[in-house]
Structure formats: C-alpha cells, structure tokens
C-alpha cells in the first residue's frame, strides 16, 4: 500500500527523535558522555582499589569496552520495546510500514552510540594505545550488534502490544545481563564449559572483540565473529517474522 521513500522517512524520523531529545537540554550531547564516564570512574575505583585484579591492565579502557556496548544495548532495547505503543498516534493514523517504527527507534539510539564510541576511542588514545590496522574491524562488529538489537526490538515491540508486561521483563533482563556480559571481569575467569555459550551472546561477543582490537591490536577470534554474525542475523529474521505475524493486531490494541 505504502510506496514511499524508506531512506528519507527513516532519516526524518531519526532526526525527529534526536531533535526532541536534545533540543531542551542545555548540555545536549554531553549527557551521552557523562553516564559512561561516571560508570567508568566508579567501576575503575572498585576494581583497582577494593577488588584489584592484577590480570587486567589498563582498567579504564577495559571497562569502557564493556560499558559502551552494554549501555547501548539496554537503552535501545527498552526504547525499542515500547516504541509501537508509544507511537500509537502514528500507527493508528498513518499507513507507514510498521517495521519502520522500532527500527528507527533503535537507530536514534545509535546517535548516542556514535558519541560514546568516540569517547571510547579517545580514552584508548589517551591511555597510550595507538591506532592499529585492526580498527577496520570496528564498523563490522558494531553493525552486527545494531542488527541484533533491531531484531530484538521488532520482537519485543510487537509482543509488548499484546502483553504490556513485556516491557518490565525486558527491563529486568537487561539488569541480569550486566552480570552475564564481561563488563568488569575478564573472559579468562569464565569456566571453560561456559565459554562456548558465552560467545553466543552477541553483546558478550562484541565486548570480547572490542578488547582484542583496542587493547591487544589483534583481530577478533574467528569463532566469536562467526557466532556474532549468525546469532545477530537469526535474531533479526526471527524478529521480522514475529512482527509481520502480529502487526495486523496492533491497530486494535493500542
């Protein structure tokens, strides 16, 4: 029915989110920097002064490699989950393809993400690590992460229309995830038998890859990368299938 310009529409909607969010803040984009910096400070203090781990060098960079993917995941997942319900005005009044709504919500979170990745790279350079050729892997691993989150958002946004508790389930899950992703501990401290499963979590896979690239100047491990790609694409397709099946019911339920 709708034969519009997807690219132009998505760009407009992302800019809309961005403008609404930042127009009324005097510090604007700086807010995106504050949260990771504070978390980096607190976690660095706790894990270098209170529970020091001699195996981890350069703790600020180490922990930021975990915080940036984790906080992007949390924010994008939660706002993606509520996107359909919160855009009821659009869904009930404008015949745009419904898939556009959760996807643009996730993409608007990418604006913070770009700022935070900038911060991460800045801290890497300040800490004395230089730019290396492996940085070329960065766009690829991040794109897989975004694809993964778009898939989850499609899934949870459509479920949230039918069962509004979905939102709280997603919120609790992201809290649990903080401990299941190696944000402040090292992959080497995970028992061997859990390692394979661990890598299946795209957020963990991304964190591990980031640390290899930025701290060790090594390319991501082949199996990690492979699992990251497979899980991300599968989740995206699954999200799309579920969303397409459920979207006919949105009109009546929001």
């Amino acid at each position: 029915m709708w034969h519009g310009d997807y690219l132009y529409l998505i760009q407009n909607l992302v800019m809309k989110d961005f403008r609404i969010r930042y127009r009324n803040m005097s510090l604007g984009v700086l807010w995106s920097l504050l949260n990771p910096l504070v978390m980096m400070g607190v976690l660095t203090f706790v894990f270098t002064r209170i529970f020091p781990n001699p195996n981890i060098k350069n703790f600020p960079v180490f922990v930021l490699c975990g915080m940036v993917p984790y906080s992007f995941f949390t924010v994008a997942c939660i706002s993606g989950t509520t996107s359909i319900v919160e855009n009821a005005g659009l869904i009930k009044r404008v015949p745009v393809p419904r898939e556009v709504v959760p996807i643009t919500t996730v993409l608007s979170c990418c604006i913070h993400l770009v700022v935070q990745i900038g911060l991460l790279l800045f801290i890497v350079l300040v800490s004395g690590k230089g730019i290396n050729l492996q940085w070329f892997w960065l766009p690829l691993v991040w794109v897989f992460e975004i694809v993964f989150v778009c898939g989850l958002a499609l899934l949870s946004a459509s479920l949230n229309v039918f069962v509004r508790d979905t939102r709280y389930i997603v919120e609790s899950s992201t809290t649990v995830l903080f401990w299941l992703v190696p944000v402040f501990y090292d992959f080497s401290s995970i028992p061997l038998r859990f390692k394979g499963i661990y890598e299946l979590n795209p957020v963990a896979a991304l964190v591990l890859s980031l640390r290899r690239i930025l701290l060790n100047a090594e390319p991501p491990v082949g199996t990690t990368l492979w699992k990251l790609a497979a899980v991300s694409v599968t989740v995206f397709l699954a999200g799309l299938v579920v969303f397409r099946r459920l979207k006919a019911g949105f009109y009546e339920r929001i």
């Binding site: 029915m1 034969h3 809309k16 609404i20 659009l90 015949p95 009109y251």
Partner: protein, 255 residues
C-alpha cells in the same frame, strides 16, 4: 496511475470488520484468566458485508449516525487495518486527513514537521523539497514556520496539516470531518483546492456532517447503519433517506 489501467480507485467487496471487546485486557494476568476460563473474546461488528466501488474522479460521501462504522471504513481504505473477511483494493497514492496533525510533534518547528509529514505520506526527498514552498505558502502561517508547533494556534496547526496533505498531490484523498478547517477565508480556499482536485480527476472519500461541504465535493453518498450499507446512490436521495430515518427514529424516541 490515474485510472489509465481501468481499475476503480477503491473497491470493497463483501468486507467485514470486527473488533474484540476485550482488546483492552493486555496484562499477563488477563491472558491467564482468559485461558483458564476458556473465554473467547466477544466481537463487535463495525462493518458487515460492505460492498461498493469508487471510480477515479468520483467523490463519495459516507454518512450515518455515530458509531455506524464510517471511520472504520475510512481507516480500512487508508490501509491502517485489514478486513476480517472480504476483498479490498485501493489503486493510487492515498493521502488521508483523519486527525489533523497526526505525526506532528509540538517541540519541532513547522518546517521540520512538514518534512516529516511529507515523508510519512510517502513523498521522496526530491518531491518533498520540490513541494515544500507550496505547502508552506498554502498554509499562510508566515514566519511562524520556523517556530515550534506548540506556539501555534490550533487553527494554524490544522492549516499546515491540510496544506501538506493536499500538496502531496494524491490520487485519492480521504478526509474525516475536517473540512471545517480554519477561518471562513481558509475554508473557501480549501474548498477551491478540493474542487480543483475533482476537476483534475482525483478521487475523494469523505465523512462529514456538514451538508454544504458534501454537496460541493461529492455527487454520491453511501449510508451506513450499524455497519451495514443502507443505501448507495446520488447524494440528494441518500441524504434524504438518511434524514427521514433519523427523524422517524427521534420521533419514536420522543413518544
């Protein structure tokens, strides 16, 4: 796309649409209770076996009492929801004015909202930029275009929304009760624009309670009563029948 392929602009063939009465029960608790009691949600039929077609260049008014299914019919034609049964065909670009300012955001400027709305209605970047000046000029809101929408009067917001919709240059314009936009001068301008639309062979599907607007814009009317088509034909005849039925009804209620 303007009827050259011989297909009508809009076709409804035996369309049914119902809504579930318990659609509001959306917590896990409600789902579990529904399942335990094996309760099937009750259905409310908004449209029953509705069939009609609108040719390109025709103007069709949908009339009926409140809750007769008029808005459901427009929403189906716009593509916001799908029928339970039956076939529905819409051929051509649609612009719908269901709520004025759907998709507008109060914190964004008029200009930003115009671009967002144009892309929501399906314009490409090039088309949106080409028509932007016409959209703003038609709305007559002057320098306010660069102010946030929350500083606008409700009349200004309606004028801007109407202006975007008509300048999208749709093949089919779907309008719900909103032709009384703005002051008298702007209303006259809107009517002129819509008549121009009709003359250039565009299709209009509208709901209105104002006979004056209907008379100008539509020659044909469809009368709905509790989701069923009561009559479909020349505007004067159908409106007459509807009025008589309403009078008989209110007369009976008074006795």
């Amino acid at each position: 796309m303007n009827g050259s392929d011989g297909r009508p602009a809009i076709v409804f063939h035996d369309v049914w649409k119902s809504f579930s009465k318990h659609a509001g029960q959306i917590l896990i608790r409600d789902r579990v209770l529904q399942w335990v009691h094996a309760r099937r949600p009750e259905k409310f039929h908004a449209l029953r076996e509705v069939s009609f077609s609108v040719q390109h260049g025709e103007g069709l008014a949908v009339i009926g009492h409140n809750g007769a299914g008029k808005s459901t019919l427009l929403n189906l034609a716009t593509g916001l929801c799908e029928p339970d049964r039956g076939r529905l065909e819409v051929n051509g670009r649609v612009a719908a004015l269901l709520d004025l300012g759907a998709g507008f955001h109060p914190d964004l400027t008029g200009a930003e909202n115009v671009h967002i709305n144009a892309s929501l209605m399906g314009l490409s970047r090039r088309e949106a930029h080409a028509r932007y000046d016409d959209m703003v000029a038609f709305a007559e809101i002057g320098d306010f275009i660069n102010e946030p929408l929350r500083t606008y009067s409700s009349g200004m917001i309606m004028r801007l929304a109407f202006s975007v919709a008509v300048n999208v240059d749709p093949d089919i314009l779907i309008v719900d009760e909103v032709l009384g936009v703005g002051d008298l001068a702007f209303q006259a301008k809107c009517r002129e624009k819509i008549l121009g639309f009709r003359r250039s062979g565009k299709t209009i599907l509208c709901v209105s309670h104002s006979n004056d607007t209907l008379k100008d814009v539509c020659q044909r009317a469809l009368w709905l009563d509790h989701g069923r088509v009561m009559d479909d034909g020349p505007l004067a005849r159908v409106v007459q029948g509807y009025k008589e039925a309403m009078n008989a009804h209110s007369g009976a209620a008074l006795k």
